[in-house]
């Protein structure tokens, strides 16, 4: 009988999974970040050099700034796009069947890998890519536009493409839970489209917007492959910096960056949670 199993045993599987796959790796990273290293080996110990190196260099600060900039721009665009798409799906598509079909349509691109979806931009945006040829063919420009690929533009474009759905889903979820009679009550009180949006829909969709923001911000902050591929190696991000350290076998340096990044992202998440109460969405 279930009742005879002690409580600690019932909690054990989850505790074990979290312990082995979350706590131990993080603890390892934290421990290694204090180790010393030379060209060939890791030297267990407790030194602060890694942090001093990481935080003392101007390039680190610049890289963090650039990563934050990517995160903020991507966040703003995906929030706007995600909110609009979710609003359309939740409030304008009235048939449940169409809602389902359109929602599935949004998720289909996710059946392929991130890398493939990113790389498919390259022939489209390149110097002799489809877009440049089309623009030149239409006579809108007489020389290929270079900013389209291997630039901040293409990095942000790829981020938006990859992560907008992470906004759409939670916002759509909260919107579907908004009682439709609230919208009618607002109209009854004289609210127009704009007032319904600002006074009813947005406040009630805030938890979904917060959850989506957490997804997007953490994904962008931790990314290295998108920045590397889409900027053609010209832009830096914290993830790229860690990759570089690791390819030089400087694991403690990479670990120190990882710990700092973790702290920064946790602070950002804490800031989001301070503004919006997401508990009732969980």
């Amino acid at each position: 009988m279930i009742r005879t199993i002690p409580a600690w045993l019932q909690a054990a599987p989850l505790a074990l999974v979290l312990g082995v796959f979350l706590l131990v790796p993080i603890a390892t990273v934290v421990v290694v970040s204090f180790w010393d290293y030379d060209q060939t080996r890791l030297i267990p110990g407790f030194v602060l050099d890694n942090y001093a190196d990481a935080l003392g260099e101007g390039v680190t600060w610049k890289t963090y700034f650039s990563t934050l900039r990517f995160a903020l721009i991507t966040w703003a665009i995906t929030l706007l796009l995600g909110f609009t798409v979710a609003y359309y799906l939740a409030f304008h598509v009235t048939s449940a069947l169409w809602q389902m079909v359109l929602f599935q349509l949004c998720t289909i691109p996710f059946l392929t890998s991130n890398i493939i979806r990113m790389i498919s931009w390259i022939p489209f945006l390149g110097r002799n890519g489809l877009l440049n040829q089309a623009l030149q063919g239409m006579g809108l420009t007489d020389h290929p536009l270079d900013f389209l690929l291997f630039s901040d533009f293409s990095v942000i474009l790829a981020f938006v493409h990859l992560y907008t759905l992470f906004m759409v889903v939670p916002i759509f979820n909260t919107m579907m839970r908004i009682d439709r009679s609230l919208i009618e009550a607002a109209r009854d009180a004289g609210a127009g489209f704009r007032a319904v949006l600002t006074d009813v829909v947005i406040p009630l969709a805030l938890p979904g917007m917060a959850i989506g923001s957490i997804f997007v911000v953490t994904l962008v902050m931790g990314d290295f492959i998108t920045v590397r591929l889409m900027s053609g190696g010209q832009s830096a991000s914290v993830g790229v910096m860690m990759m570089n350290a690791m390819s030089l076998l400087q694991y403690p340096a990479a670990a120190a960056h990882a710990v700092v990044l973790l702290a920064v992202v946790l602070l950002m998440v804490a800031a989001i949670l301070r503004v919006v109460d997401i508990r009732k969405e969980l």
């Binding site: 009682d179 609230l182 009618e184 009550a185 109209r187 009854d188 004289g190 609210a191 006074d199």
Partner: protein, 348 residues
């Protein structure tokens, strides 16, 4: 002098594709009247209310409020206010901001609208809960906030969609009194959709019985109950037994006798007899024979189910003393007596 007309519906219809929810209804509700729309689910009562409120487009016909055609106006431009079935209070706003919402929409400043909202909350005795969120209130309190929110615009008509159905029976009785009191004090027209006969009879000046998108009868509560026009109204309002008979030469012939009824047309017809007028008294002139099919003790009275020879179910209401003076058991053969005065002829 006829009472001034508050709300008038002229051949109002609502069609959803091929389905007609409301079928060309005409209705005049006197200004300042308490009107209840009643009927089974899907009868069109809620669609009618929502059309008056402006939340449902009118397919054809006109709606007039105080002589002004409001058919095409937006909800807030009509002079009506709606109270929703589940109250539809904004969960993210305090009670005060909920009540002040429509004033905010009109662009009124914060201090002024809060002052007015506070006064309105005082009117429904909730001023001390102004800063609470709706989720922190009981059902009855939420209802009063919804009422205050609807009334703050000084509407000429308040539209209530099943306002009492979410409350427990005790609270329902109290809120019923409060609604009536408010309506008397404000002197505005209330239109109240309900599926409860008790509610309609207790509150309304005008009871409108609907079925299949049509109005079957619109009358004072006592008239609706005492002189139901059709079999449906009699059955729906309850408290009546329906008997089938044949009219001929000013009398109604039933299986067990002929009752003189000068108004009766020739041909098959139906009559209604109130359940409290049928007595287990062999001295009464007409006796409907049957068997006891149910005995329900209701406290103040006892309801007997009576099944006649054709298998039709009827009811008798006896006072408690009457029943226990001569208790009956299931299956007992009895006869329910009544007089010609108790017979009400139904339209066919």
């Amino acid at each position: 002098m006829p009472a001034e007309v508050g709300i008038e519906l002229i051949a109002v219809s609502k069609r959803y594709g091929a389905v007609t929810a409301v079928d060309a209804i005409d209705l005049r509700i006197p200004a300042g009247a308490y009107c209840c729309l009643i009927g089974p689910s899907g009868c069109g009562k809620t669609s009618t209310l929502r059309m008056i409120a402006g939340h449902e487009e009118v397919s054809s016909g006109d709606i007039l409020l105080d002589g002004r055609n409001i058919t095409a106006l937006p909800p807030a431009g009509r002079g009506t206010a709606m109270m929703f079935q589940n109250y539809a209070l904004f969960p993210h706003l305090t009670c005060l901001d909920n009540v002040a919402f429509s004033l905010k929409m009109r662009g009124m400043g914060r201090a002024e609208r809060h002052e007015q909202a506070r006064a309105m909350l005082a009117r429904v005795h909730l001023e001390e809960l102004a800063e609470r969120r709706p989720a922190q209130l009981s059902g009855g309190q939420q209802q009063r906030v919804a009422l205050a929110r609807a009334l703050i615009t000084n509407p000429r008509a308040l539209l209530l969609d099943e306002p009492l159905s979410a409350l427990d029976p005790f609270l329902r009785g109290r809120m019923r009194e409060e609604l009536k009191r408010l309506q008397r004090e404000l002197g505005i027209t209330f239109i109240h959709v309900t599926h409860s006969q008790d509610e309609a009879l207790a509150l309304a000046d005008l009871v409108v019985v609907m079925e299949g998108g049509r109005i079957l009868q619109a009358d004072a509560p006592r008239a609706v109950f005492q002189q139901p026009r059709t079999e449906f109204v009699a059955r729906f309002m309850g408290g009546h037994n329906i008997l089938a008979g044949v009219g001929r030469g000013g009398e109604v012939r039933l299986d067990f006798g002929a009752i003189p009824l000068p108004a009766a047309p020739d041909g098959p017809l139906r009559i209604a007899i109130r359940t409290d007028r049928m007595r287990l008294d062999a001295a009464l002139p007409y006796q409907l024979p049957g068997r006891i099919s149910a005995v329900e003790y209701h406290g103040l009275h006892v309801r007997l189910g009576l099944e006649d020879a054709d298998g039709n179910a009827h009811s008798l209401l006896l006072t408690e003393a009457e029943f226990f003076a001569r208790p009956l058991a299931l299956g007992d053969a009895v006869a329910a007596g009544f007089t010609a005065d108790d017979v009400h002829l139904l339209a066919t």
